[in-house]
């Protein structure tokens, strides 16, 4: 017998809302690769993320739903800036269709979806191992993050720092090696000298 949703999120209204949000998330996700402009693609992706986050909210996953909305809306805003920067044109008006291997990609995606659906339907899913907590969800998560799973979050922070350093090194226009070459003790030959009084 497949597991059903916990009691707090059970009911026909929840199912209808979830199906609606699921349709919105999949359709807007597909629109990302159908619409004519990168800006519209960004908005479509943001809609897909927000629909999934709202689905999490209907499940009662308040913290995850809210944090997904906040993170993804900001992420898509940043993505839109990069698109405008790269494309160098009005991103809402310029049609685009820059694809390769369209049929092969479609075939692989459809085949994988069929395989996944068969696996999902056929797999003998176990029953729920325990009941979902109710009002203390966020408090329990906080205690977990600050307790037994603190090492996980502490591992994430240096990785984030490494990402910042790596991102700056990769994206910066000119590094110390471009200025000095291998001989870092050699004075820099800058076209415009810097410093006070230049």
């Amino acid at each position: 017998m497949p597991p059903s949703l916990p009691a707090r999120a059970r009911g026909s209204a929840v199912i209808v809302v979830f199906l609606l949000l699921a349709a919105v998330s999949v359709v807007t996700g597909a629109l990302v690769f159908v619409v004519d402009s990168m800006a519209r693609a960004t908005y479509a992706l943001a809609c897909s993320f927000v629909a999934v986050a709202l689905a999490l909210l209907t499940f009662g996953l308040t913290y995850l739903g809210v944090i997904t909305i906040l993170m993804m809306v900001m992420e898509m805003a940043i993505m839109a800036v990069f698109m405008i920067m790269f494309m160098g044109m009005n991103p809402a008006l310029m049609p685009m269709d820059m694809v390769h291997g369209k049929r092969a990609a479609l075939a692989v995606s459809v085949a994988l979806f069929a395989l996944l659906v068969v696996g999902i339907v056929v797999a003998p899913w176990p029953g729920a191992a325990g009941s979902a907590s109710t009002a203390s969800d966020i408090a329990a998560l906080g205690h977990t993050l600050m307790g037994s799973k603190m090492l996980v979050m502490m591992s994430v922070s240096p990785i984030m720092f490494a990402t910042i350093v790596g991102g700056v090194v990769l994206a910066s226009g000119r590094t110390r090696y471009d200025r000095f070459g291998d001989d870092l003790d050699h004075p820099a030959q800058d076209p415009t000298p810097g410093g006070v009084g230049r």
């Binding site: 999934v52 499940f59 979806f113 910042i164 990769l170």
Partner: protein
């Protein structure tokens, strides 16, 4: 509602993202495909956590996935900026020599 229904929706999101990641030429659009795949992963992981093992430790995994999405995008854009600066293009076909 059953776990299977949510997982089928997550699989649909994942496969739509896979199609984009495989077919798009622009780096940013490839990253959008990857983000969509992770979107499906978040939904599937949340459903499995909620239906099968509703304990806070599962939510920690989802938080890590969200962090990974952010890091992936940050590094992806950094590489895209570098390729665009050096080669004047943001197309994956122009950076084919970077493979392997």
């Amino acid at each position: 509602m059953t776990l299977q229904l949510v997982l089928v929706v997550a699989a649909a999101l994942f496969c739509v993202g896979l199609y984009g990641a495989l077919s798009q030429q622009v780096v940013v659009m490839v990253m959008m495909g990857l983000e969509l795949m992770l979107n499906g992963l978040v939904l599937a992981a949340a459903a499995i956590w909620l239906f099968l093992a509703p304990r806070p430790t599962g939510e920690v995994l989802l938080l890590v996935v969200l962090a990974v999405m952010t890091l992936e995008m940050a590094m992806g854009f950094a590489v895209a900026v570098l390729v665009h600066r050096r080669r004047g293009s943001d197309m994956t076909d122009m950076a084919g020599d970077l493979a392997g």
